[in-house]
């Protein structure tokens, strides 16, 4: 419960936030804090400086620009659930947000925080990889964009480096999405999951909980490409996926069980996505 000593600042602008993050060694952005504060309570990590993004309303915006849904990094999961923009342009984001933990966590927790933490059991890293999202990062040297598959680097590590700030997540509009998995209890921590997305016959599939970062199932994507999947063809395409994975073995699942769950999750996510793509 008891944190190590830490310094705190609450900047009034993105520029000031980036300047603070750059100016202080060991500085870390504080978004919703629903993971970071808890990690600090365990003293598993102890940033020297917290730069609280709470006042940066510009990072809370949810907007549609053309065929792109723009999610501010500080958009809370609750605001994503309630957003008509999300519902219209990429409804799966709201659906999955509604299954993250509980009301309190969703009220504070942000999409930016969820992915910057990159806990391997988090919902949004594999989903955003499957959706082909792009992350915009502001640093001292300016702004850059990173595709989702390059964004995730390791547990608690992303392309957001020291002095950087994730500002926005762009998701192309679409409906052909599915996500399936097994959790510890309803709305609990994921044991294994898969997210799948199809657009114009091209598939993007990402697995969660099998490595430090989401894993693309490219071979399955290729086998499914262009076809009109039914249960048998999806099962055939997924066959053998588990053997290519090297998932962790822990108290909730052996590596073998995770391999099996990964395959089942992909089958279910793909079938869900295909059905929704058909509308």
């Amino acid at each position: 419960m008891l944190l190590r000593e830490v310094s705190y600042a609450r900047p009034g602008s993105v520029e000031e936030a980036v300047a603070l993050l750059s100016a202080h060694d060991g500085a870390r952005a504080l978004a919703g804090g629903q993971t970071l504060v808890n990690v600090m309570k365990q003293r598993a990590a102890s940033p020297d400086v917290l730069v609280d993004l709470a006042d940066l309303d510009e990072l809370r915006t949810i907007a549609v620009s053309g065929t792109t849904l723009e999610l501010g990094a500080m958009a809370t999961l609750t605001s994503i659930i309630r957003s008509s923009e999300v519902e219209v342009s990429r409804p799966i984001l709201g659906e999955i947000a509604a299954t993250v933990a509980d009301v309190q966590v969703r009220n504070r927790g942000t999409i930016g925080g969820n992915i910057c933490v990159n806990d391997p059991t988090n919902h949004f890293p594999p989903l955003l990889v499957a959706l082909g999202a792009t992350m915009t990062i502001r640093g001292a040297g300016g702004e850059r964009t990173v595709p989702a598959e390059e964004f995730f680097v390791g547990v608690f590590e992303t392309a957001v480096g020291e002095g950087d700030l994730l500002t926005r997540i762009d998701v192309p509009a679409g409906r052909g999405d599915g996500m399936a998995g097994v959790t510890l209890g309803v709305h609990g921590t994921y044991v294994a999951n898969a997210a799948a997305s199809v657009a114009d016959g091209a598939w993007r599939i990402a697995l969660g909980c099998v490595a430090a970062v989401p894993v693309r199932a490219t071979a399955v994507e290729e086998r499914l490409a262009g076809g009109e999947p039914d249960e048998a063809s999806v099962r055939a395409a997924v066959e053998g996926l588990g053997a290519t994975l090297d998932p962790p073995s822990d108290v909730h699942a052996s590596a073998d069980y995770r391999r099996s769950l990964a395959e089942t999750s992909v089958v279910r996510a793909v079938l869900q996505a295909a059905e929704r793509a058909r509308g």
Partner: protein
């Protein structure tokens, strides 16, 4: 949320007893005005933080506290070396070899489980105390670790307590009837090589802690703490601290759940006491969730090896024999009492007359165990239920018919078990029928087909269990003949105060069981007054003189011992009130009745004294009485009638009452992932006379929730190095709202012939739900390879293994028929 309650036997009530009146406790609790230990503050108090071992087994070298002491705001420290000088090891319940264990408030010389307190630091803030604890440098020399009770008993295993010459704490053979003859005459023998009851606990939401003050003038400590069995704590602490028991005053108001898990906090409390004296300031210790999971009060893990069941052709089960291996963890804080407590329910709800159980308990590099809701009986009840279902499964008997054939029958009550325990009352077959009716048992095959059409495996399971309540502590002598404990007791006081208020004090330490309410119901009926004028003091204070050696709240006994004491004290107060009224009215005492808040002449209601007048006379208006008016103050010790059990035969009545719960549930399993959902659940309770039915049903619900958690999610799992893999709610998932199935409850009332109010202690549930989930899973798996459920804890991955490799579990079963 889809709860239905049916009462089998409606009881006609004339007073408050038997009514679901709202609880007296609730107003303060819903206002956030309850007082839990951590809510109490004192000027100048220091916050204690324990330095805990990162190793499961290690020799301790130097402990350097200098850097911690140098930190501004740190008040002081305590190390194991100091503890070894200032205190003696805690008294051990065990005879040798377990009796040789040396257990102190802090680790001395060695650590034996991960999270064991090695030193303590006190500072001016909570955060600072933890900072300072990080600065304490401890030299550890890691030692080999043993986490499996079976391996711990093998030659060459790492030894935790060298004084014991091994890891065995207790072993004994418990045999009744003629087991060999029964097996010789059996038509079938079902052999089960291994069954395992998993390690978990009830994880009360409030964690342990205390505010400890030392009075230098009187040498007395006041402990504002949530320890739930002060009578036991004081017996442990006072000799270790080389003081009399009166030097330790226990105070508590509200406790945030206990379930037995708050019985064994005495080592930490001693550390607080020593620091309060050493630093001359109040010491505040709050345990956090990870601390609790790593170091406190796990439930007993138990293996049942080489089990054999003797069965006649008609399904009558005549005998079983098994080797139980129990895992006590690193220290014997309440153990090896679990080594006898199970025998309160040795045959479960069944008529087995021939039983042989070899009980062996080992110490391992895991957190010490302590009582946990259903303590030690739940393991045995799960075992008896599991073997009944496996016998049915393997021999093709109907599970319901097999149960009904073998249950102790209502006409046999009171029933003496082969080991001399007396089941006081109950109608098990009828209770089972009630549960099956609630669950819709007659439509189950249609539901099974419907589920199959959705690709799901459906199964139904039964768990029939007992809540044995009101211990005869004489059973401890079956483990250690030198112990001088027997019987049981509880105390209450009742007084009529100056303005006519009735004030009741209890020796108990309630944690949500509604003692203030049920006590008031009993009192109001005896005194013929409204329940609102009965003030039951909240909590416990050993200064009230309303406690005895066994005072506390544990082991399903309040409705018997606590209310028995309340009834006794109130009846004595009533006698005093009537006597005083008869002195005033100069009439025979028999002519007086208490009704409507008056003492009055029964056939002349004009001659009536309000309680206020009765209270005022002895207290403030007592001139002119020729003899002393009664004091309007009574203290009563309730003592159940027990004999010391026969130590040779391990025979005797170990508990006074046997409440019963039968649980049944329906599960649906996803055959691809092993994920399953409980889709229907029913629980039937029979605890004799119910003082407050709503409170009883609440206890049944709580027991159900704990059982579902233990069956599906909750496990204290360790790796080979002794790291706890589920050290907090990240990985130890307890059920949340969305995890709970719809529940139906019903009650049957079979009054106990042995208790003052016909009540029985209840609330633990005997793990009924754990077994019904196991049984439902096994039923569901019949259509998918017939895997046998051999573990009490079945998370999804274990179900997946049973689906993938049914032969592995089937290989544990062998049937021999003659």
């Amino acid at each position: 949320m889809s709860t239905t309650e049916t009462t089998g036997t409606p009881t006609l009530q004339k007073g408050f007893v038997g009514q679901s009146i709202p609880r007296k406790e609730d107003k303060r609790l819903v206002e956030g005005q309850g007082v839990f230990f951590d809510d109490v503050k004192r000027h100048g108090m220091g916050y204690l933080h324990f330095v805990r071992s990162p190793y499961a087994h290690a020799r301790i070298g130097a402990v350097d506290v200098s850097a911690a002491l140098a930190l501004p705001g740190v008040y002081g420290t305590l190390t194991g070396d100091e503890v070894a000088i200032l205190t003696d090891p805690f008294f051990q319940i065990a005879a040798d070899p377990g009796g040789q264990v040396k257990d102190y408030a802090l680790a001395v010389g060695k650590v034996r489980y991960l999270g064991e307190p090695v030193a303590a630091v006190v500072a001016e803030s909570r955060e600072l105390a933890r900072d300072a604890a990080e600065l304490v440098e401890v030299d550890y020399e890691p030692l080999d670790v043993v986490v499996d009770a079976r391996a711990a008993l093998e030659d060459g295993a790492p030894v935790l307590h060298e004084e014991c010459g091994g890891n065995l704490s207790y072993t004994g053979v418990w045999e009744w009837g003629d087991v060999d003859a029964a097996f010789a005459e059996a038509d079938h023998v079902v052999a089960i090589s291994e069954l395992h009851f998993d390690r978990f606990n009830s994880t009360p939401l409030e964690l342990d802690g205390a505010l400890v003050e030392f009075n230098r003038g009187t040498g007395q400590w006041t402990l504002t703490t949530n320890n739930q069995f002060p009578g036991f704590a004081v017996i442990m602490m006072a000799p270790a601290m080389r003081i009399g028991t009166d030097k330790l005053r226990f105070v508590t108001q509200d406790i945030g759940g206990g379930f037995g898990n708050k019985i064994t906090s005495h080592p930490q409390l001693v550390a607080c006491c020593l620091l309060a004296r050493k630093l001359n300031r109040p010491i505040q210790w709050t345990e956090w969730r990870t601390d609790f999971h790593q170091s406190m009060s796990h439930g007993n893990e138990r293996w049942f090896l080489d089990t054999e069941v003797a069965v006649k052709a008609d399904g009558t089960m005549t005998a079983f024999r098994t080797k139980a291996v129990d895992d006590a963890g690193a220290y014997l804080r309440y153990e090896p009492l679990g080594g006898v407590i199970w025998s309160q329910v040795a045959p479960g709800m069944y008529g087995w007359r021939n039983i042989r159980l070899e009980f062996t308990q080992a110490m391992t590099n895991k957190a010490p165990v302590s009582p946990n809701r259903g303590y030690s009986r739940m393991q045995q009840l799960w075992f008896t239920e599991r073997i009944v279902d496996i016998v049915a499964h393997e021999l093709g008997f109907d599970r319901v018919e097999l149960r009904k054939r073998n249950y102790v029958q209502p006409e046999q009550m009171p029933y003496e078990t082969p080991n001399g325990c007396v089941y006081d009352s109950g109608d098990y077959p009828r209770s089972l029928d009630t549960a099956l009716e609630l669950i819709g048992y007659d439509t189950i095959e249609a539901r099974r087909e419907e589920a199959a059409s959705r690709g799901k495996l459906l199964g139904i399971g039964i768990g029939s269990t007992l809540d044995s309540g009101t211990n005869n502590f004489g059973q401890s002598q079956l483990l250690n003949p030198d112990l001088q404990f027997s019987g049981n007791n509880e105390v209450a006081t009742a007084k009529l105060d100056i303005f006519g208020e009735i004030v009741i004090t209890l020796g108990t330490t309630p944690q949500g069981q509604g003692h203030e309410t049920t006590a008031a119901q009993v009192v109001a009926d005896i005194l013929g007054c409204d329940v609102d004028i009965v003030h039951v003091r909240a909590g416990h204070d050993s200064y009230w003189n309303s406690h005895a050696g066994f005072s506390g709240t544990y082991a399903s006994q309040f409705a018997v011992t606590g209310l028995g004491a309340v009834k006794g004290a109130t009846e004595e107060l009533a006698r005093q009130m009537k006597t005083l009224a008869s002195m005033v009215f100069q009439c025979p005492v028999e002519a007086i009745e208490l009704a409507d808040g008056f003492a009055r002449i029964a056939d002349n209601h004009e001659a009536a004294l309000p309680f206020m007048a009765l209270g005022a006379i002895p207290n403030a208006n007592n001139a002119g009485f020729p003899t002393d008016p009664p004091p309007m103050n009574a203290r009563f010790v309730y003592r159940p009638q027990f004999e010391v059990p026969d130590k040779e035969r391990k025979f005797g009545n170990l508990t006074l009452t046997y409440a019963m719960q039968i649980h049944a549930c329906v599960v649906e399993v996803d055959p691809e992932t092993g994920v399953y959902e409980i889709v229907d659940y029913a629980a039937v309770d029979d605890c004799g006379v119910r003082i407050n039915p709503q409170i009883v049903v609440g206890q049944v619900m709580g027991a159900t929730a704990h059982a579902i958690g233990a069956a599906m999610f909750e496990s204290f799992a360790y790796d080979e190095e002794g790291n706890l893999l589920t050290p907090n709610f990240y990985d130890y998932h307890v059920p949340h709202t969305l995890d709970m199935p719809p529940l139906k409850t019903a009650s049957v009332e079979s009054p106990s012939p042995f208790t003052p109010l016909g009540t029985k202690g209840m609330g633990e549930g005997g793990g009924g739900g754990i077994h019904c989930v196991c049984a439902a899973l096994q039923d569901a798996l019949r259509a998918a390879g017939g895997g046998i459920v051999t573990d009490s804890h079945n998370p999804y991955h274990r179900v997946w293994e049973l689906l993938r490799h049914p032969d592995r579990s089937r290989g544990k079963i062998e049937v021999r028929s003659s």
